[in-house]
């Protein structure tokens, strides 16, 4: 545990504030209430997991936090400033890596630089270091189809980290990976997060994944997505895979599972 007093103090500062986030989609069959009055804070340097079953508006929430979608009501604040469009300090990691199949790995990673008008040469050292860090050095000229799912997702992590964002939003990034690769990726995320001190919001429907990664877990109830509960996870870091079989881990898992199962019923009776 390398958390000094200074880091503790820094963690008290609110980085992202979700205020009464409400989203209604107007579809042909009527109005879909995806999110209803969700409010919570993400502190600086914190790793928060948003957990919930499919259709609880997790992705909707993240898309609003990234500025890609507008909320119907409520707002998202980054350092106290409302987010209405994609912000340079926020980078998003998508489901299924979302690499461009017509670009090789290096050109995929350079995409954000091209968009921002930064010459890639200026960031070459950083990109090389990141590629080495995630074990992709030597794969620069490979195309996405030549890489495994895990490698593709590593590349997309490098792509997002290369622009050095303050906040990393991850939308079920490892949902399509097999269990072993997923464990590996979760370890990598924990390491990168501990090294970089970035604020991370991680969306998942996997309870064990959320407990493994999170400082806090925000549990959403399904349809409409409401805040069910927030769990503090005080497991020591760095967390290991062995930890996931420990009694304390299992107890937390059971407690969260129960809150999701009852959360839906309670939300309905409100």
């Amino acid at each position: 545990m390398g958390s000094s007093l200074a880091m503790q103090a820094a963690r008290q500062a609110v980085k992202l504030r979700v205020e009464d986030a409400t989203k209604h989609y107007h579809t042909r069959t009527g109005v879909v209430h995806a999110l209803e009055g969700v409010s919570f804070d993400v502190r600086e340097g914190e790793l928060v997991c948003v957990l919930g079953p499919s259709g609880c508006g997790k992705s909707t929430l993240l898309w609003a936090m990234s500025g890609l979608h507008q909320l119907t009501r409520g707002r998202i604040l980054l350092d106290g400033e409302a987010i209405t469009r994609p912000h340079p300090a926020i980078a998003m990691i998508f489901q299924d890596a979302n690499l461009l199949p017509w670009r090789n790995l290096l050109r995929n990673i350079n995409l954000p630089f091209e968009i921002k008008g930064i010459p890639p040469a200026a960031r070459r050292d950083r990109v090389n270091a990141l590629l080495k860090r995630v074990g992709l050095a030597g794969f620069e000229t490979k195309y996405p189809r030549e890489l495994s799912g895990g490698m593709q997702q590593r590349a997309s992590i490098v792509r997002s980290l290369a622009v050095d964002p303050e906040v990393l939003l991850m939308d079920e990034p490892f949902g399509a990976l097999d269990a072993f690769t997923r464990d590996e990726m979760n370890l990598l995320i924990q390491e990168i997060w501990m090294e970089s001190g970035k604020t991370v919001v991680f969306i998942t429907h996997n309870i064990a994944e959320a407990i493994f990664l999170a400082d806090r877990i925000v549990v959403l109830s399904p349809r409409p997505g409401r805040l069910a509960r927030i769990f503090e996870i005080d497991l020591p870091r760095p967390r290991t895979l062995e930890l996931t079989t420990q009694p304390h881990f299992i107890e937390t898992l059971v407690a969260i599972k129960a809150s999701i199962d009852h959360g839906g019923a309670r939300a309905a009776s409100d």
Binding site: Y25, H26, T27, V32, A34, S59, T60, W63, S66, G67, L68, H69, Q70, P86, P88, I90, A91, M92, F94, Q95, D96, N98, L100, P101, W102, R103, L111, P112, E114, I115, K116, Y143, R145, V163, D171
Partner: protein, 283 residues
């Protein structure tokens, strides 16, 4: 400007839709296409060619088929070599018509596709007319165009561009419409503007379909150029077909057909390579 990210529930089940798409957009038949692997395959290809050409030569000689019905391969080859210097200027005319008409039609078709797919309402209004242009044989307009523009290249270039344009447009539009919401969101999340999204996501994404459109369009353009030359005027390979058949000079007639076939094959090979270079990621 239209919003690239329609306000829809973010789901990403685009993959199955793309897999289900077959037909013109499916490049696999082209990109996995013929490629000689071993000397055995090469030998077999040569052997089949020899058997077909030699066999027809032999059969035509044995049954003494008159030259004006079907000349022997050797006669056609002789006519091709001997009369090529007379045919060549006409080939240049046809290629000039094809290239200018293609350049005009393809650019117009591409631009139109790029613009109207951004505005679904405009697309709905325009599509019936594009379909009308695709399905109407542009050859039918050639006599009319000749009345207006005379017997020079102009009416034929116009006919070629009218044949190429809609074909490129309709295919490119399919490609542009296919744009993947997640990839656009990705570019947006890094702060891309509409033009950047267009250049870096939509065009590369649509490239396989654009190339298919260019290929089909150029073949249609060739057909239209030759047809238009047969209708009126005194130059071009189409005109030579009409000329040689009226004189019953069948070896020369077939030599021209052979040249047309070679032009068609060259077009196919050209776009095959372009597709391999620019759109091979899709297969």
């Amino acid at each position: 400007m239209p919003d690239d990210l329609a306000d829809n529930i973010p789901t990403f089940d685009t993959r199955s839709k793309q897999d289900a798409e077959i037909g013109l957009s499916n490049w696999s038949a082209l990109t996995s296409g013929p490629g000689v692997r071993t000397w055995l395959e090469a030998a077999a290809i040569v052997l089949v060619a020899v058997v077909i050409i030699g066999g027809s030569e032999l059969l035509l000689r044995i049954f003494q088929v008159p030259q004006y019905i079907l000349p022997t391969p050797s006669l056609i080859a002789w006519a091709l070599v001997h009369d090529f210097r007379f045919i060549f200027p006409h080939m240049v005319v046809t290629l000039t018509e094809l290239c200018s008409g293609f350049a005009i039609g393809a650019s117009a078709g591409f631009l139109l596709a790029a613009v109207i797919t951004q505005f679904p309402f405009v697309e709905k209004v325009i599509t019936p007319y594009i379909l009308l242009l695709v399905t109407t044989p542009m050859l039918a307009l050639v006599p009319l165009l000749i009345l207006r523009f005379g017997f020079g290249m102009e009416p034929r270039i116009i006919a070629v561009s009218l044949a190429v344009g809609p074909m490129v447009m309709i295919n490119a539009a399919t490609g542009f419409r296919r744009a993947d919401l997640a990839k656009i969101a990705l570019a947006r999340s890094f702060g891309a503007n509409t033009i950047q999204i267009f250049m870096k996501i939509r065009i590369p994404m649509a490239m396989p379909m654009i190339i298919v459109g260019l290929m089909v369009g150029s073949i249609f353009g060739l057909l239209t150029a030759v047809g238009a030359e047969m209708v009126g005027g005194a130059e071009g390979l189409g005109n030579r077909l009409a000329y040689y058949s009226s004189l019953i000079r069948m070896p020369q007639f077939f030599a021209v057909i052979l040249i047309l076939a070679l032009i068609g094959i060259s077009i196919y090979v050209l776009f095959y390579w372009i597709g391999k270079k620019w759109a091979s990621w899709e297969s």
